[in-house]
């Protein structure tokens, strides 16, 4: 029985993978993302130089050389080592924050779509309000009030990134609650609990999955931005923090392009990878969008 089920799942997955593989945007995203995961692993275990401490006077803002392929920063540390370390921070913040957003957004969206009464109305209003209030200023204020610590940063970005997910979850729930199989379950006397967990949630998850990949990208962008504004965790070097140092310590006026370009390109590429992947997954998992 389980073996049979497993074969079916594997066949379904294989069919989806074939659709995904034909999507060049998705494959670009996957390859770029894999590169960053490898970078993060390398950065976690081995970096060419120590990223803590400072270098000697002669090592300050050196242009790229064989010893330092990306040059050195304003206190003589190796830029490449810092860039390698930054990959892990970005991935960690992005994934965890997006998971929080998914959990909150799916719950609120599902409940607001499923319950038509006062609970539904209140939750819809609540979502609408948070859809309108601009996220970045709120993230900045909360991060400033809570203090610079990577877990706070993750919490703040995650807890404010849910309204988009909730909107999608709600509109999908509205469709699924009227579908024949849901109505059938209800007329057979299934509990609300059962209907929500066994029928509605599995129905909305594929679309939420594609959306969550996009949310990871924007969470990474948010982390970079607030770190750049000086609200990042000072003990964990992220690409945003590097750019904050580069900006505030005169790398622009020194023309130290080697200190400015790599972290920014990394942020752009990792966000791009998640964006491409999200759009591709949406096409694969959302049959309406599939090219005929």
């Amino acid at each position: 029985m389980y073996a049979e089920k497993f074969t079916i799942y594997r066949k379904q997955f294989g069919a989806l993978w074939d659709v995904f593989r034909a999507n060049s945007l998705g494959m670009i995203g996957l390859i770029v993302l894999a590169t960053f995961v490898i970078m993060a692993l390398i950065g976690n275990f081995f970096t060419p130089y120590e990223t803590a401490g400072v270098g000697t006077f002669a090592e300050i803002l050196n242009p790229p050389s064989w010893a330092h392929p990306f040059g050195t920063d304003d206190v003589g540390r190796d830029v490449l080592s810092q860039v390698l370390k930054g990959a892990g921070v970005s991935l960690l913040v992005g994934m965890l924050a997006a998971t929080i957003s998914l959990a909150v957004g799916a719950t609120i969206g599902l409940l607001s779509g499923y319950y038509r009464g006062i609970l539904g109305i209140v939750l819809v209003r609540f979502t609408d309000i948070f859809l309108i209030i601009p996220a970045l200023p709120l993230i900045i204020i909360l991060a400033a009030l809570l203090g610079s610590n990577i877990w706070n940063v993750i919490f703040v970005i995650g807890i404010l990134g849910w309204p988009g997910t909730a909107r999608i979850a709600r509109s999908q729930t509205l469709v699924i609650r009227e579908l024949p199989y849901t109505l059938r379950a209800r007329s057979l006397g299934a509990s609300e609990h059962h209907i929500i967990l066994r029928h509605v949630l599995p129905g909305i998850l594929p679309l939420l999955f594609a959306n969550t990949v996009l949310v990871i990208g924007s969470a990474i962008l948010s982390e970079a931005t607030i770190s750049f504004l000086g609200l990042g965790d000072p003990t964990r070097l992220s690409w945003g923090t590097m750019l904050n140092f580069a900006f505030s310590r005169g790398a622009l006026f020194a023309g130290a392009y080697w200190y400015v370009i790599p972290p920014g390109v990394c942020i752009a590429l990792i966000v791009l990878a998640f964006t491409c992947l999200g759009y591709a997954l949406d096409e694969v998992l959302n049959p309406r969008l599939r090219k005929s």
């Binding site: 009030l145 504004l229 750019l243 920014g264």
Partner: protein
Amino acid sequence: MGLVQYALRRVIPALITFLAVIFLNFLLFHAMPGNPFALLLRDPRMPPEMRAKLAHAYGLDAPLQVQLLYYIQNVFSGNLGISLVYKVPVTVLVSERLVNTLILVTPATILSIVIGTAIGTLAGWKRGGKFESGALLSSMFVYSLPAFWLGMVFIMFFAVMMGWFPTSGITSYGMQYEGPLAYLSDLGAHLFLPTIVLTLVLLGQYAIIMRSSVVDVLAQDYILTAKAKGFEETKIIRDHVFKNALLPLVTLIGLNIGLIVGGAIQTETVFSYPGIGRLVFESLATRDYTVLEGAFLAISVSVIVANLITDLFYAYLDPRVRH
């Protein structure tokens, strides 16, 4: 329903959102434990009489619900407190900066919408070609760019290395202008790079949504009818496709005004442009909480108003939503 009636109905949720923002502000800055105003009184060297006096002056000795009512009353009478650093009313500071932000954001938003829709329309029209995949990938690329970093790169190359543009500010400091034309050209030189940065990071989303919207419309039966009638392709695109495809874009503009705000905060910070976004950054650095609070309120109100305007614009374009 007429447009006026519809407008009145949309104003109520906007007001509710405004009240929610006020409440959120109060929660963050006044009610949370360890909030900045409570910290003002925590100096251990302060004699108790003085602490009581200060608490009374700030209204901190009143119960929280009374403080909330005071706060709402103050906001509605335009009193946002006094800057802890500059010692001037927050309202003055914020409104000055808001005008500067609008000078930067308005042209950038219009430019990004125009360029974005043009690219998106072409990409959707030429579906399956090299242009489409190129346009889509580059739209996603500019959408993924951190605005603050793009600003840094532009400053480094075009302002510092090439010396074509000033590196920061809105006008040259202490400059005596010979006439309004000299003033405007100086202003323009300062605005050029930030406007380009903001336009670039915003146009990607418009191009992406416009492309998929055009693809959707092209699959409609009325396009087939138009083709069967023998209309020219350019005419079909202009009169049938473009107009209908614009509708989802207007919704997106309303929903994504927050992205414009985010882009403006980053761009202004990098270019030291004296707008409200830079004010947020400065007040963070100096822990000027009254200003931070006022700036957040002003930003939120602008977004709520802009959202209301796009909502009404949509209702004007598509009368169906009014019913």
